[in-house]
């Protein structure tokens, strides 16, 4: 491992000042990705500023019914918080399916938003990768790309965004709260995740020293009937080949409200707006669901090994919608 220096801070202002002052430094939260990345030389930081003592690990209900979780709230704590289980089951499920218990106990919510892609060429420090080393090329396009994206890819990068929790949060229109030496601002989550385009090294609009202090999930009564469906090769400890976060309200056999986002198939947590558009006000039938799924994947581009994902993710969406329709009818 490359030599790194380490320090620990206990308040937000010092943390930001310390990291902002040194371009080779980085925040260290749960460390479940960062340390791995350092060990495989896929992460250039030379100085780690440990922020685990910062008082931003809260889970709070706002007066308007929104839930606000601190950037350092642990995945497991958020997943098992009664308010999340009750009001946003899809988020709880995405978190629980997102990592093993050991990782969930360590990994922070802010860190989860910033986790790095699983592309094996990105993680192989000696392979060409535009995300790790801009301009060197993308090895995955001609390489082993079964797990890669069919939506949102560019000729420069086809890596799939790995987060499950972010998929649920994108469906829920969460806000990412950021603090830096200049003050505080909030970013709508759909703007937070950037498509690779010709700058795949830039994954989000944060600048060096910006710190995620909280994630806010607005109230959404429809989310009480929601789920996260994750399809993967093994039952646990594995990333999605396709996933769907979905909330659905059906009134008199017609889709009254729907939120749908996809994981495992796109270069960012993918809000399925085209599908939502088809679904809105349409009869809640398998035929509608299939049409919506098809609309969302109309522009999908397969790579050499992942063409099956286009079909798989449509079936995943249909299954999620059918399950919620049945549940809603039973309730």
């Amino acid at each position: 491992m490359r030599p790194v220096s380490y320090s620990r801070v206990s308040d937000v202002a010092t943390a930001i000042a310390t990291v902002a002052a040194d371009p080779t430094s980085a925040y260290l939260a749960g460390g479940t990705t960062k340390i791995d990345m350092l060990r495989i030389y896929a992460e250039p930081s030379q100085r780690l500023v440990d922020i685990n003592d910062l008082p931003i690990d809260h889970i709070e209900v706002q007066p308007d019914g929104a839930v606000r979780v601190g950037g350092l709230a642990r995945m497991n704590d958020v997943a098992l918080a009664p308010v999340v289980l009750d009001r946003f089951p899809m988020l709880s499920e995405a978190l629980l399916l997102g990592a093993s218990a050991q990782l969930r106990n360590m990994a922070s919510m802010g860190g989860n938003m910033l986790q790095r892609v699983r592309c094996s060429y990105f993680r192989d420090a000696e392979a060409s990768c535009n995300k790790r080393e801009p301009g060197t090329g993308c090895s995955a396009i001609a390489g082993v790309n079964r797990g890669h994206a069919v939506l949102g890819a560019s000729p420069h990068c086809i890596a799939t965004h790995p987060s499950d929790a972010a998929v649920a949060l994108v469906a829920l229109d969460a806000m990412i709260h950021v603090q830096n030496s200049g003050g505080h601002h909030a970013i709508a989550i759909d703007d937070f995740f950037l498509l690779p385009g010709d700058t795949p090294e830039r994954e989000h609009p944060l600048n060096h020293g910006d710190l995620i202090t909280a994630i806010e999930v607005p109230a959404l009564p429809a989310a009480r009937n929601s789920l996260y469906l994750k399809v993967r090769d093994r039952e646990s400890y594995e990333f999605a080949l396709a996933s769907a976060a979905c909330a659905l309200t059906v009134t008199d056999g017609v889709v009254a409200e729907v939120r749908l986002a996809l994981g495992g198939v796109a270069t960012k947590p993918w809000r399925a707006r085209k599908a939502e558009q088809v679904l809105h006000g349409a009869p809640a039938t398998r035929e509608t669901f299939a049409r919506a799924a098809q609309a969302e994947l109309a522009d999908a581009v397969p790579q050499t090994m992942n063409g099956f994902k286009i079909e798989l993710v449509q079936r995943t969406m249909i299954r999620a919608l059918e399950t919620l329709t049945a549940r809603g009818a039973a309730a």
């Binding site: 490359r2 039952e235 646990s236 079909e311 079936r315 299954r319």
Partner: protein, 743 residues
Amino acid sequence: MTAAIGQPLDRVDGHAKVTGAGRYSAEIALPGLAHAVLVTSRIPSGRVELIDTYDAERAEGVLAVLHHLNLPKGGSVPPLLPSLFGAAASGQTFFPMQDEVIHYAGQHLAMVVAETLDQAEHAARLVRVTYQETASITTVEQGRDRAYEAEKIFAGFIPGRIARGDAAAALDRAQVTVENTYYCAANHHNPIECSATTAVWEGDRLTLYDATQGPNATLHTVAELLNVMPSHIRVVTDYVGGSFGCKAMIWDHPALAALAARAVHRPVRLALSREQMFSSVGHREEQEQRLTLGADRDGRLTAIRHHKLSPTSHFDDWAEPSLGVASQMYACPDYEGVYRLIKANTMTPTFTRCPGEASGMFVMETSMDELAEKLDLDPLELRLRNYAETDPGSGNPWSSKGLRDCYRRGAELARWSERDPRPGTQRDGNWLLGWGMASSGYPVTPPGNPQRARARIFADGSAVVQSSFSDIGTGSATAMTQVAADGLGVPLERMRVQYGDSDLPNTAAAVGSAGAGMVSAAVHIAATALRDQLIAQAVADEHSPLHGADPRQVVVSDGRMALRDRPGTGETYAELLQRSFMPDAEALGTWNPPGMDTPYGTMTFGAQFAQVAVDPDLGLCRVRQLIGVFDPGRVLNRKTAHSQLMGGMLWGMSHALLEGTIMGPDGRWANASLGEYLVPVNADAPDVVIETIETTDTVVNPLGVKGVGEVGMVGTAAAIANAIWHATGRRHHRLPITIESLL
């Protein structure tokens, strides 16, 4: 007798393992220990044009950077010989860092030695290699048109073509045929402990702490590679964290560790990284098999033609013997088996749990299921109609065979006859349900050399039995404690087994499911020899209550010798030794194994049944239950034997559904990590039911132990594939069976 054999005794090393007190080969703490890290080739074929070590040599803590230009030359590479022979057992006939030629990606090119592991890893990244790449072949597809029929495979022990009768003519005449091409992805072993060696020189004497299935295999191989007298090498293997075949043969890293230690005049630890485990210790080769079955309308097999095609290295003609058990399972007059190879830019493939049987029996048993479908016969009935009463290859009788009982009991447990045999008829919500079955078999192979153990008893009545074998996580140390206690007639808590050290009496490597049989033979002979020696001493001693008795009438239990018909007359071993002013007594036991030409077919048999649930919309397959019934001869420890069988079956499930190493277009393994090479997690593990049918076998070894190490994995993949057919009506001929193929 204390009758410890067979009891589900907890592992004698369990406490040390779970508390971390047990030290593995990469955990040996030594003063002055330095760390070596390997630099490996990025390309599969070509030459090293330039190796720039300037920055690495100047990095903090670096003691040496060794490569083909400065590594001291040693002895010669011994021939490839399975470590069951007890001699040198090189995994491939190639030793790296001798010249600039690159034969495969991951080939070891340089070694950095530094004060700490982190420093060595960092400096290894600073070694810059400039390559001259040449065209390569790394897959079956790329090399298909260059395939050749092997003269011999498997270190020369198996001919490349095996025939009896005239399979072609018999297939022409066959009333029914089934013909398919099968594909199995390459597999890697992935034990939780990566291979590691810690090397220490004291003058011209070398001690190696090595994670190996055979301390003596390491000793002999390193002796030849370094041209050091075997008498000057000691190999210690206290704990091994699993192996599955990747520590069965001896690769270059133990010798490299010794060379590094000699270069820096300090003890050196060389531990392979997880990624390096994919290109340093062999693998199960990618393979294509074509199987044709011919049968009459009653389902009696008339002909089998079984061809295999697989890549091997440039140095060795290696293929796992996939045709072996598949050719011995059923009575069939006409047979043809052919191994074809492709010289490829990979290292020599090697033993990987069920080497050959796992893939070959997947092919045979899924074809049998298809034949049953074609004949409208129950798959189990088809197997019974072709039951081999004698070994079809040699015509010899079996040393023991309980397969009929395995079928019967397995079918009972699976309620086989109650299922609707039509495919695609049973449903549970979104899941289609199916049952499948398959036969299992794994050969019992004797070691090539005599097996030895020494039994020693002390004047307080406690005893130790010593033998050099290593316990690779199977529980052999525990089972041997039971064998030793029973043999000598002392309670378990007074018996210790000392093992994992080449200075102890010689055994071959614990490979090929042979460990329990061969080591128990030596331990049993040593312990009973010591018992007989002490009984003889007692009956000759006029101060003993047993004086003058017929030694055959003396029995021993709880450390006390007594007359069989008058238990009141007797004395303890301790009383005898103390009265005789003897601090201890000892005896050596040697077992001379039967030769390869023993006129018996020897095999552990079994029957497996699987229930699966398939969600065809989402391409998911979940195994709900696995049932295995086996006939392993005598079971030494019920608990560890069942664990072995269960581990095998779970790996069989993994072989069916998850595992596959993918060769990238750049000629490198593309998923060389535990994150991307999928093995099952607990959540994937189904209900596993295991039973054993105890058969008496007087041929294989003194205690009649046939072995449980690998047979559990044989047939599991086929049982699952057959269950998937029963659930969905679709056949699968490629492993692993992944989501995209189930959609």
